[in-house]
């Protein structure tokens, strides 16, 4: 099995290339088969691998070929497989397969069917390379690869400029983080002489003491990369806009897999972060602030996908919090459960959008409970898991995170309380969504319900979102053991009860309407705050003023090539000289003669001043 591990990313890659080259000539159904089956085979192989791994717990390292070798710099196209990789691969191929299947129906009428699956397959391949890479450079390859695929898929409907804008924003904002990450790679290589992750972590702990500056800088640079990819503050602005892409893409890339790459990166290089506790604190604070910021924003959104996008940002904030407090496996666990329930929610919203003629505004929906039962139930389960209601998958993972955050000395209780506030908000906005969309009066009529290709993935994901919490992820050997003692029981009870409180609030505000928030929302303060939240705390506006516009202005200012001014000045000087000298060219012989004589006089007097000998014989 270990011999063919490279087949797993290769399959979707081959699928993608085939679709790119021959997609035009294939029948629609064949395109669908090809696109789904390539990921399906990968999923199957991953499952086989997982079974094998469960039996022998064997860590695999495979060198396919040496990518390049310059002196001691010799990164390979090589894969590393352990429990963490397995979790990620399972999520990618499993959820990926379901979403591919869902897409065959969702994209059925799109003229660029083949292009869609080619991109999607390419994404899965890149993502697999990202998580399977055993060195940071190959990881970076996957990292950028998913970035480009995300760009392509967000801008999939290229004929609307807005989509193109969103796609470029997604790429460029993440590229900022990526560049910082690349610098981190350079720093790590120049100090440790390798980019191989396992070797790197081993060497780092020998070379550096805990709390030294260089590992701190390196970690912070890696965090920049992670922050960009995972849409955390301050580089989160691309994700809500990225919802311009087809909804299954949002489910796969912008909820389940790519955006969690940052979490994976930090978890993968935890050995470095343990050397830089300050960096971990930064990660925790970024996580918690982001999760709160995004949760408040999600409260005010009206676009169903934007709500989900902000909730994704918020949930990844929890994962960052987990990583920051050293709860590695809890973070990864939440990554997995989040992949299940968020993919479920996105696919559910996709089903709604698909059946409601591309309607995105939740206030134009309503009463869909009876008309789209499958979707309703998937939304119910997904939202329950998102809000971390007891016994759902989200409950287990989020609970773990909060409990471990609480145990952190000094900052712990503060982080815990912020996390709780976030959980409360999560429950409110997720059930706001459910109540507004599925209950109340119907505003639009769906023209169809989901077919089996949509229904089956939804059902499977429902199941996973419900029971995912009972899985144990095989990462015990990957991470150092953290957290020993159990916190006081009241902490646990509070953690459990907060989401329920949120649900109750949402019920009274949005469904029962017992609590009237009208006066609050119409007051000037409330409206101002609401607008601020609606615009995502105005961060987009701020960036636009701070970076985007000045850059445009700079480019506009420079576009006529200021350097040319120097060369044009030389040209003009020459022309001036020419004009001046050509005036002396009168055409009158005597004038020339007189000037010649004058010149002669000057020359002779100069020469005789040069001293004896010049004119002596």
């Amino acid at each position: 099995m270990s011999k063919i591990i490279w087949l797993i990313p290769l399959m979707p890659f081959v699928g993608s290339i085939t679709l790119m080259l021959f997609g035009k000539n294939l029948r629609r159904s064949h395109i669908g088969y090809l696109g789904v089956s390539s990921v399906g085979i990968s999923a199957l192989l991953t499952a086989l691998l997982a079974i094998e791994f469960m039996q022998n717990q064997e860590v695999l390292e495979t060198l396919v070929w040496t990518w390049m070798q310059v002196g001691s710099f010799a990164p390979g196209i090589s894969f590393y497989f352990d429990g963490l990789t397995l979790v990620m691969m399972s999520v990618i191929t499993g959820v990926g397969f379901l979403i591919h299947l869902f897409s065959t129906e969702f994209m059925e009428e799109d003229p660029s069917y083949a292009r869609y699956f080619a991109y999607l397959n390419m994404f899965v391949a890149s993502m697999l390379i990202l998580v399977m890479a055993d060195n940071l450079l190959l990881l970076y390859l996957g990292w950028e690869g998913v970035g480009v695929c995300s760009y392509l898929l967000v801008g999939f409907w290229y004929q609307h400029s807005a989509n193109g804008h969103a796609a470029r924003k997604a790429f460029i904002v993440t590229r900022i983080g990526d560049t910082a990450m690349a610098l981190g790679l350079l720093l790590l290589f120049s100090h440790l002489g390798t980019l191989d992750i396992q070797v790197l972590m081993g060497k780092a702990s020998q070379v550096w003491e805990v709390g030294e500056n260089i590992p701190l800088i390196a970690c912070l640079l890696l965090v920049c990369g992670a922050v960009g990819k995972s849409a955390q503050l301050p580089l989160h602005t691309w994700l809500p806009d990225a919802m311009a892409g087809p909804t299954p893409v949002s489910a796969l890339i912008h909820a389940a897999t790519m955006v969690t790459a940052g979490v994976y990166l930090i978890a993968r290089t935890h050995g470095l972060f343990l050397l830089a506790p300050d960096a971990m604190i930064v990660v925790a604070i970024i996580g918690v602030v982001t999760s709160l910021m995004a949760a408040f924003t999600a409260l005010m959104q009206t676009d169903i996908k934007r709500i989900l996008a902000y909730s994704t940002i918020s949930q990844i904030g929890y994962m960052f919090l987990a990583l920051g407090v050293g709860a590695w496996s809890a973070g990864i666990f939440h990554l997995m459960t989040h992949a299940f329930f968020k993919a479920l929610l996105f696919l559910g919203s996709g089903a709604i959008i698909h059946c409601l003629h591309h309607e995105h505004n939740i206030f134009k929906m309503g009463g869909l409970r009876t008309r789209m039962p499958v979707t309703f139930w998937s939304f119910m389960i997904g939202s329950a898991a998102l809000a971390a209601l007891p016994m759902t998958s989200g409950f287990f993972s989020k609970d773990q995170i909060l409990l471990q955050a609480y145990q952190l000395p000094d900052l712990g209780p503060g982080l815990w309380m912020a996390g709780l506030l976030g959980a409360l908000l999560t429950a409110i906005y997720s059930f706001r969504l459910v109540f507004v969309v599925f209950f109340g009066e119907a505003n639009t009529e769906p023209d169809k319900d989901t077919e089996w290709r949509m229904a089956i993935p939804l059902s499977i994901l429902c199941f996973l979102a419900l029971v995912g919490g009972y899985f144990t992820i095989p990462v015990v050997d990957v991470f150092p053991v953290t957290g020993g003692s159990h916190p006081a029981h009241w902490v646990e009870y509070v953690s459990i009860s907060v989401p329920i409180v949120g649900l109750v609030i949402a019920y009274f505000v949005f469904l029962n309407r017992r609590i009237n928030i009208e006066t609050l929302t119409t007051s000037s303060f409330g409206r101002g705050l609401g607008n601020l939240w609606l615009s995502g705390w105005g961060i987009d506006w701020l960036y636009d003023r701070l970076f985007v516009r000045p850059y445009y202005r700079l480019a506009n200012l420079l576009k006529s090539e200021p350097v040319d001014v120097i060369y044009n000045a030389i040209v003009e000087l020459n022309q001036l000289l020419n004009l001046w000298l050509s005036k002396s060219q009168t055409g009158r012989l005597r004038w020339y003669l007189v000037s010649m004589v004058a010149g002669l006089i000057i020359l002779i007097s100069l020469a005789s001043n040069l001293g004896p000998g010049v004119l002596q014989w």
Partner: protein, 511 residues
Amino acid sequence: MVMINLILILLVGGLLAMLSERLDENMPRKVAMAAVLFDLIYLISSMLSLPEIAQLQAPITNDPSTWLMHFKANWIPAFGISIEFAMDGISLLMVLLTLILGAVAISASWTDIVKRKGFFEANLLWSLAGVLGVFLALDLLLFFLFWEVMLIPMYFMIAIWGHENRGYAAMKFFIFTQASGLLMLVSILVLSAINQETTGVWTFSYFDLLNTNISEQASYWIMLGFFIAFVVKLPGFPFHTWLPDAHTQAPTAGSVILAGVLLKTGAYGLIRFAVPLFPQAALDFSYPAMLLGAAGVVYGAVLAFGQADFKRLIAYSSVSHMGFVLLGIYAWNELALQGAVMQMVAHGFSTAALFMIAGSIQERLHTRDMSQMSGLWHQMPRMGAVAMFFVVASLGLPGLGNFVAEFLILLGLFQVNVWITVIAATGLITGAAYSLLLMQKSFQGEINKKWAESKLSDFGQREMMTMAVMIIALIFLGIYPQPVLNIAEPVLHSLLDLTALALPSIAEAKL
């Protein structure tokens, strides 16, 4: 002899192409293509027959017998001028690149030249011959001769077959390169004269001049002469302003050759002459040179972002990319140099392809203004897909050649100067900005009504074949660059040894 034949085939091929126009109007392009392909096959076959190619022993820079090939014959013995050619790994790579891109250029101009086709192909081939000469000549005066030989046909190509503002562009190109070339000539003469003063023998041979004993100050000035000549060609900031005009106005084949090959002669000159001949001076100058490189990276990227002209945007992206080469060369360690060589090759392919796409668009739309494009993907999906590939290549997507190059350069540079690395790295971000803007404005977005009715033909077989060559090359360079690195490695090692020998302080520091 092989090297002379390589050049002669192109020169004669050009002549034949010009004459063949009398037989048939479409004959020249076929003759030219045949000549370039024949040259390529000839090169490869003679390379395969070389015993050294198998192990590629490290050439000792000042011992020509260790090079892959060496040829020397008297030319003007009174002044020690000889016809001396030699080839090592870097020359080989550059010659290969030149010939492949030469074929690409001929293919690119297959249909868009309508007047004086014979003379056009002749100029193309002569320019290529000049470039080959530059990459192979190791007598400094011969080198200068070829430097001019490649310049003049290119001037004609821009001036005769260029676009609306061709006269200005051609003249600007000519004056910049000519003035800087003369500066180099002066430097060559002074260097040789100094050598003659100390040894009593006139010589222009690279191998002899390597051992010249020059005072520090003199070597600094001479080095600057070489540096400016090469940096103008590269082009490095702030000597780059000829490039946007020349690239924009040149016919497609001209742009392809200009961007793909001619710019590389500058980088080649820096690696071959400017640094090894004056190691100490180059070291003293490395900081300003790197600053210029970083400035080029950033400046080119910002200006590219501001352009509305398709070709001009690509031209500025070249400025940005070649800034990386300058950085790589003056970082002068193995990683960075490998990156610079890699960048020369990869940039050759990616930019040549983009210029070819630009040419195809102009041929169909008769405009290069991107505000008049938009949504072209819809009508020309193949061209759009190909363009997307090269755009992401040029923004440095890992897995394609440019990334390997840029990463190696940054990695090498990081050991030398962290802050310049940081500045250069921002080029990755701004690079993404202008590349994607290019894509957005031309191929994506709403379908422009202007072209909705007119039938725009997508890439045909010939074009797709040409593109396939470059796509495969870039992927190959991106995921398995080792063959290229292996060819360049011994040369770079020997160059590094040479400079380390001249600079004991560096050698000690490295130990």
